[in-house]
Amino acid sequence: MVVCRFFLKGTCKFGDRCRNEHPRNTSEYNAYPSQANWQQGGNQYHPRSQDTFQGRGSGHQSYYNQGNSSGTAFGNQNRFAALSDDYQANNKGKGSGPGGFGDGGNDEPRPGEILESIKRDAEEWDVSKMWPYSCYRPSRAQGDVPGLQDLSPEELRLEAYIAAKENRFETYKSAVNLSTDALKRKLEMMKKPSGELKNALISLYRGQQKTGSFGGQSIFGMQDISTLEIFTKSGSTLFKTSNTSGTLSSTSPPAGLFSNPSSASSSSGVFGSTTLGTGFGTQPVTPSSPPHGLFGNPSGATSSFGSTAPSSGFGNSGGLFGKPDSQNTGLFGQPAQTGTGLFGKPGPPAGAPFGQSSSQSVGLFGKPAPSGGGGQSSNEKWYTPISELTAEEKEQFEAPSFTLGKIPTRPPPLELVNTAA
């Protein structure tokens, strides 16, 4: 925000109503005695490194060598300090140490200012091409904003390399897209916080523990899923030992709650509930090469839900979703045996994961679907022509349920698909 010139002079007639910014930490700013020295120092060095000096007069904001007009004379500095880039930077809430909030040294900044600074940070983060997968602590907050997890470029890169090696690069890509979208959503929410989010953010400044005050949920809502979890779901084994994915060691995949190991809701709760519309159901984070059951492998979903499917796709353990038991019915509301039913079901949530994932599963649909195809893959790839089926496969598809050990590895023909559940 623009700093109010009248306020600086002490003559602002709008007072609190003023639409410009009334910085309140003029005294704090002046308390940096060395600031003047920097300016002076800066002036001395211009001749020496003129050719390579970056940021001279270009608004490059730093404590170093301002190069802007306010620094030319020592005497002028204090008076115009508020107008300098650096001061404005301080008041934008990005400055270091004190002076971030313009509240004259109060311990607790006002809620309006908090939200304002968070909003500015979120905007900046969005626009500036910063690395998106990072934790974030607002200035002068007592803790990080929960729900934003650290993921370093090296980790992501290693994940990509491994995924490429294991032939699940598409899944990796979609996981990346998922994470980016999730982050964008969060940034949007930070820019326009709901009432609950507002309270949560403000309480950050009061030093409340994140898990304690939010009950272990992401402050961004129930549907939030942490970045690490997104990648783990896509088959990454990189984050197995991290605490945030503590749920990995339990058999139930996290229900979209972040960084809380105790968030292990029952798996059927995950599948049967509204998460269908969010992270899990709609997003193609499913199969990758290591062969486990697709959902809820009885040996414990160590790579959790959706992380794996054998390249032979659905023929694995009795039905499309791993166990031919209630878990399946919970997932898409369909009995397990109609694995074929999955394809017949017109809902994109069902089709999308597999339309995408199938591109990775070797031999499942023949040719890999284009990446990001999702539900856009043409129907021809989803069904095997009836003429191509072997007798055994045909028999299986025609039967009311699959027999273990004889489950076809190719999709059923359109003709045999039962649309009625």
Binding site: S58, Y64, N65, S152, K173
Partner: protein, 362 residues
């Protein structure tokens, strides 16, 4: 075209190859993928060697001559990308840490490498510690542990738990600093036995990227460290600050937008302190490096823009050569990764002059 090195005219027998825009020397036969770490041999060795670890799973060693020429000497392979390298203080061995969860000790004389460390996750940092009464290898990994290894035994001498995945670390006896995910910074003191001295939160608001210890020039003892984050900002932090205002942060590696609109912000990938002057260099994702004087809080120089981000940088033992690696750091994800792009390491001579601190008028 004559290159300048040390201010004198240079025989043109140097690199007729790729014309780099700058007058810095390009290292011959660079790695095939991004360079993750650079390290020069210690002062105990008369010749200067440069070792670089790369995402192509290899560690390479060059001899660097005074005229800027580099001669590839040897290389070693890991089964995963090499994430960090460190020299033994006697200059005969190099320690390499890799994403294959192992660290190896490479004996340069025999060109053999043996495994010296094992973690449950990729090892991100490796350092050599030389104390009066012990010496060991320190490895920090994404499995949230910091382990210390006697190279002769398969079990670690000491294993310390970290609050989160280790992202960066630096060692300058008797101090070690480790930066982890979620902005934790832990300071260790290494006398007698490594033990945790202080745990704090980084003053920066975003993910940590790199850390480098600086020393008090007069006392020749480490007094603080510099932290770099993804947010185009560095923090200078003293371990025992006389005055809380001694600790400060500054912005760097941002594009020159007008101050009212948001700038492009780039990560600080690497920080290195000059061994003699105590001034520092920062390497950024924007493809530029800058030299700074932290005591007078001024910027000394910014380089021209390179074609790719600068992933790491380092000084040689005497502070004459500044090496920086230009390669993709994954800051924009996989879309911007291309195997066609060159990965380069440049050596900049005359570093002593460039990094001379400004006269301070305080």
């Amino acid at each position: 075209m004559a290159f300048q090195f040390g201010g004198s005219q240079q025989p043109t027998s140097l690199f007729g190859q790729n014309q780099s825009k700058s007058k810095d020397f390009e290292v011959t036969s660079p790695p095939d993928d991004s360079i993750s770490a650079l390290a020069f041999s210690p002062a105990t060795v008369p010749l200067t060697f440069l070792v670089a670890g790369s995402w192509d799973n290899k560690v390479r060693c060059w001899e660097v001559q005074n005229n800027g020429q580099t001669i590839p000497k040897a290389e070693q392979m890991h089964t995963g990308p090499v994430l960090d390298v460190a020299w033994h203080d006697d200059g005969t061995k190099v320690f390499t840490a890799s994403a294959d969860k192992q660290a190896k000790m490479w004996d340069l004389n025999s060109n053999q490498a043996i495994q010296v460390a094992q973690h449950d996750s990729p090892i991100k940092v490796i350092k050599w510690i030389k104390a009066p009464n012990y010496s060991c290898v320190m490895t920090g990994s994404w499995d949230k542990t910091l382990k210390f290894w006697d190279t002769r035994q398969p079990q670690p001498m000491l294993s310390l738990q970290l609050p989160e995945r280790c992202y960066c670390a630096d060692v300058m006896y008797p101090m070690a600093v480790v930066g982890t995910a979620d902005r934790n910074v832990i300071i260790y003191q290494l006398d007698n036995q490594p033990s945790e001295f202080k745990r704090m939160e980084s003053p920066l608001k975003y993910q940590l990227r790199c850390v480098s210890i600086f020393k008090d020039m007069k006392k020749n003892m480490p007094t603080g460290f510099a932290l770099g984050s993804i947010e185009g900002r560095c923090a200078i932090q003293f371990v025992q600050a006389q005055n809380p205002k001694d600790n400060f942060t500054f912005k760097c590696h941002r594009s020159n937008e007008a101050s009212t609109y948001y700038q492009d912000i780039y990560a600080v990938n690497s920080i290195a302190f000059h061994p003699e002057h105590g001034t520092l260099a920062t390497a950024g994702s924007d493809g530029k490096f800058s030299f700074w004087d932290k005591d007078s809080r001024t910027k000394l120089k910014t380089s021209e823009q390179m074609e790719q981000p600068i992933t790491c940088c380092n000084f040689d033992a005497k502070g004459q050569i500044f090496a920086y690696a230009v390669s993709y750091d994954w800051s924009k994800g996989h879309e911007f990764f291309s195997t066609q792009k060159k990965n380069q390491i440049f050596l900049r001579g005359n570093a002593s002059e460039d990094l001379k601190p400004r006269n301070r008028k305080r």
